[in-house]
Structure formats: structure tokens, C-alpha cells
């Protein structure tokens, strides 16, 4: 599984961080640290968190590709 956080759409709601603090790190402004970094590999242990974050992101900024 790969995941992309859109650099324009992420607005710092931090819902993903609440879902998994281990996987979704935030930058100093409170936005997803992965935003604007393209497709990144999701380790198997975080696949469920990634799907949940995708479903809960109010901006639909998280895109998952299996």
C-alpha cells in the first residue's frame, strides 16, 4: 500500500494524527509531515490506520493506492 498526502489540501485538521501518532507525524505548524512528498510506502502494521485516516480526513487530502 502507498499513501499520498496532498500538499495543497492538507489544512492541519490533525485527524490522522489522532488516529495514529506513530504513523502520521505532524510538522511544527500542525500539518501532516508527509504532505507534498508524493506516494510513500505504508508498512503493513499501519494499513488499517491509513484507511481510517483516509475516511476521516475532512479535506479528502489522503489518497491510498493498493
Amino acid at each position: 500500500m502507498k499513501l499520498k498526502v496532498d500538499g495543497e489540501l492538507c489544512s492541519g485538521h490533525a485527524r490522522c494524527w489522532t488516529i495514529s501518532r506513530k504513523f502520521f507525524l505532524l510538522d511544527g505548524d500542525g500539518y501532516n509531515a508527509m504532505r507534498g512528498h508524493g506516494y510513500l510506502e505504508v508498512p503493513a502494521e499501519f494499513e488499517e490506520a491509513a484507511r481510517k485516516a483516509e475516511a476521516n480526513c475532512p479535506e479528502k487530502a489522503i489518497e491510498i493506492v493498493d
Binding site: A14, D29, G30, Y31, E59
Partner: protein, 416 residues
């Protein structure tokens, strides 16, 4: 409503003209073609009105003043909120803006000006930073509870709900002095919910209080709070520096956002818990439920009902043509109960797995204090249930509300 016929053609839809006529008769007012957020029916039956708009009319029309569009569906609000180039905030969040109404920023600014401010203000309210304030917020929750616990009752809004958000935000982040809180709450509230012809003067009074304080702080050594960041200012990409008017408007926006909104969620959550003993017990027995429960309360009780944009070029939204120059409101209060994204939106489910809402807005103007609001709500519910696990609404009373573009609980009498 320019989209009536188009709606009727949608698959699964019955004759929407007939349904709309029936709905108007049921509500006793045409909330589709003649909507007014200041109309008493909106205050009295807000969820019925929003649900009917969501069901039958994704873009309602108001004829108040120069008129405005009222967008309700979650997906449309997301698209419009994110498209700040087409839907600008620079002409204000209020339709029919009154002469002399002071500007508040960055909500009434577009990028890159808005971005320049968010860049310096965001770090003060990032989740991990706000989390470090939670012990202080818990202590404040307990200090307020100490004041009334032995009475066996309280009027929650005045004795807790309007105070805690001010204390939490002023003391930990913003840096305004607590002795300004009462006057700021009174003037800001009157500017939002008071008689319409007094709203400008009330907001000007709040601005005068903030102006005096900023001028005092300008002469003092820095403390590292948000006031210092505001006074330091920002440089805009066009080479200009933020003006005093911008700094004052930033302070005002943060103040009204910090004290005028979370009170409603706190009051609504406590009201719900007062009437649902099982929900109280669930939260006491399962503390790990709290983050989703907090998010569900935020979804179910949005304090900001609708914020405005001005359309910069003709654009279609849900089949309705919005023309260049048209004032358009994003009904966040509706988007958080859109059945297209929330199953059984009327049901408050504290264990709800996916909580999708627009209570904090969508797009670059996302509420900067969203993490602070969550912390205040979580600390309040957790500490309250430790101190007062069993409580109810005082017999013979019920909460009163005020609604305009924001919604407010006026009073809530609790007993234990």
C-alpha cells in the same frame, strides 16, 4: 433556487417541486427560496431546516438585503471552501455587511496574506503544543467546578461555559489579560447575536479594548505569546508589512474564535450527558472512547453555522449557477449532518467510528483553534465526570438558544 427542475430529474428523486411545497407547509416558512439565518424559525428548528435543505435543495437562496446563496452539502462545501481563488474571503464572512463593521483577520483575507499570518500563528496552536496545556486546562476546569459543586446546581453557561474557553486560550496561548474577558465576551456576543443595528458599535467597543491592550504590550518586553507574534507582524509577498489595522483585526478574530464558539459545544455536550446516564457511564467505564466522543460532540453541535465567500467568476455548484460577485455562505452546520457522509446524522453516537464533519471549516481557513477546542472539551468532560458523575437538567428548565451565522446556548441549568 435555480436548480429545482434539475433536482427533480435526479435518479431516485420524486417530484421535488411537490416535496418542496410540502416541506414549506410543514416548516411554515420557505427556507429554500427565502432563507434567513436571522429568522426565528432557524433558531427554533435549526436541524429540521438544515435537514430539509440537505434533502431537497443543496443551494438555497436568501433575499435578505442584496441576497446570498446558502450551500449545505458536505461535498460542495469542501470544494468551495478549498477553492479560495474562486470563492474569496476578502469581502468578509457576513452577507450584507454593515457600514463601519471592523474587519477581522485572517478569516476575512485570502492567501497569500492569510497564509503569511497562519504560518506564524499556527505553531502556537499545533496539536502537540496544545496537549502540553492540558494539565493547566484541567486545573482550571476544577477551579470552576470548586466554585459551585457544593451548591448542587449551576447555570452552566455563565458559571463555566463562557469562562473556561477564555481562561484556556488567554492564559496558555493568546496572552490577553483575564480582566478583559467579561467585557470582551459581552461585546463580542452582542456583535454576533444582539440587535442588528447595534452590532457594529458593539464590535467597535471590543476593538477599542484590544487596541488599548496591544498598545500597552507594544511597550513591554516580549513574553512569547501570540500577542507578541501579532505585534511582531508579518511581511507579505508583495513586499508590504502588515498594518496596525491588520494586527488589531488578527487579535479580534482570535479572540472571537476563542471565546465565542466552544461555549456552545461545551454546553451542548453537558446537556446531552445530563439527559443520557448511559452515555455518561460509557465514558467513565471506557476512557479510551474520549477522542471519538469529543469529535462526535463537535460534529453534532457546530457553533459556526455558516461563513461567507464572494464568488469571483461564474461557477456552478450542485446545479445552481453562482455568478461573479454573488455572496455565498458555506453552511458548515449542515455539512456536519449531511447523510451522504454521516450515517444517521441525527443520532449522537459517542462510539461512532468515522466522524466526518465540517465544524472547523474546510480549506485554508480551517479553524486555527480546533486543537484548543478539542482539548477544552476533553478536559471538561473528563474532569466533570470525575467530580459530578451523576447530574441532570434542572426540572422545569430547558436550555435557550440564539442563532445567526453562529449558534449559542444562552443558559443551561444543571442539578446534582
Amino acid at each position: 433556487m435555480r436548480n429545482m427542475d434539475k433536482e427533480a430529474e435526479q435518479p431516485g428523486g420524486r417530484d421535488s417541486k411537490e416535496e418542496i411545497a410540502a416541506s414549506i407547509e410543514k416548516l411554515g416558512h420557505d427556507v429554500f427560496n427565502d432563507f434567513d439565518f436571522n429568522h426565528p424559525i432557524f433558531n427554533e428548528r435549526i436541524n429540521d431546516v438544515l435537514d430539509e435543505q440537505l434533502r431537497l435543495c443543496p443551494v438555497a437562496r436568501s433575499n435578505v438585503g442584496t441576497g446570498y446563496w446558502w450551500i449545505t452539502r458536505n461535498e460542495d462545501i469542501r470544494r468551495v471552501g478549498q477553492d479560495w481563488k474562486t470563492f474569496s474571503s476578502a469581502e468578509g464572512y457576513q452577507p450584507n455587511r454593515q457600514e463601519g463593521m471592523p474587519w477581522i483577520y485572517p478569516v476575512e483575507m485570502d492567501p497569500p496574506y492569510q497564509t503569511a499570518w497562519r504560518r506564524v500563528l499556527n505553531p502556537h496552536l499545533a496539536p502537540a503544543v496544545v496537549e502540553s496545556f492540558m494539565p493547566n486546562i484541567r486545573a482550571d476546569v476544577n477551579e470552576l467546578i470548586d466554585r459551585f459543586i457544593d451548591k448542587g446546581e449551576c447555570e452552566f453557561i455563565s458559571e463555566f461555559g463562557v469562562i473556561l474557553p477564555g481562561w484556556a486560550f488567554f492564559k496558555n496561548s493568546l496572552g490577553l489579560p483575564l480582566d478583559l474577558l467579561d467585557d470582551l465576551v459581552a461585546t463580542m456576543e452582542a456583535s454576533l447575536f444582539g440587535p442588528i443595528d447595534e452590532r457594529v458599535d458593539q464590535l467597535k467597543r471590543a476593538f477599542d479594548l484590544l487596541d488599548d491592550y496591544l498598545r500597552t504590550r507594544e511597550k513591554e518586553p516580549p513574553r512569547g505569546d501570540m500577542i507578541d507574534t501579532i505585534l511582531k507582524g508579518v511581511a507579505y509577498p508583495d513586499g508590504t508589512e502588515a498594518s496596525w489595522e491588520h494586527k488589531l483585526g488578527i487579535t479580534a478574530d482570535l479572540t472571537v474564535g476563542g471565546i465565542g464558539t466552544t461555549t456552545y459545544v461545551l454546553g451542548s455536550a453537558l446537556h446531552y450527558l445530563a439527559e443520557h446516564p448511559k452515555a455518561r457511564q460509557d465514558l467513565i467505564d471506557n476512557p479510551e472512547m474520549m477522542p471519538t466522543a469529543v469529535e462526535e460532540f463537535i460534529r453534532a453541535f457546530p457553533p459556526v453555522i455558516g461563513l461567507g465567500r464572494v464568488c469571483r467568476r461564474d461557477t456552478e455548484v450542485a446545479g445552481t449557477l453562482i455568478k461573479e460577485g454573488d455572496f455565498t455562505l458555506l453552511a458548515y452546520g449542515a455539512a456536519s449532518r449531511d447523510p451522504r457522509v454521516v450515517d444517521n446524522p441525527d443520532e449522537i453516537d459517542l462510539g461512532r467510528q468515522d466522524v466526518v464533519h465540517a465544524t472547523f471549516g474546510v480549506g485554508p481557513h480551517r479553524c486555527i483553534g480546533s486543537n484548543m477546542a478539542r482539548a477544552e472539551i476533553q478536559c471538561t468532560i473528563e474532569e466533570w465526570l470525575k467530580r459530578i458523575p451523576d447530574f441532570s437538567v434542572k426540572p422545569g428548565t430547558k436550555p435557550n438558544y440564539e442563532t445567526s451565522q453562529l449558534r449559542q446556548m444562552v443558559d443551561l441549568h444543571l442539578v446534582w
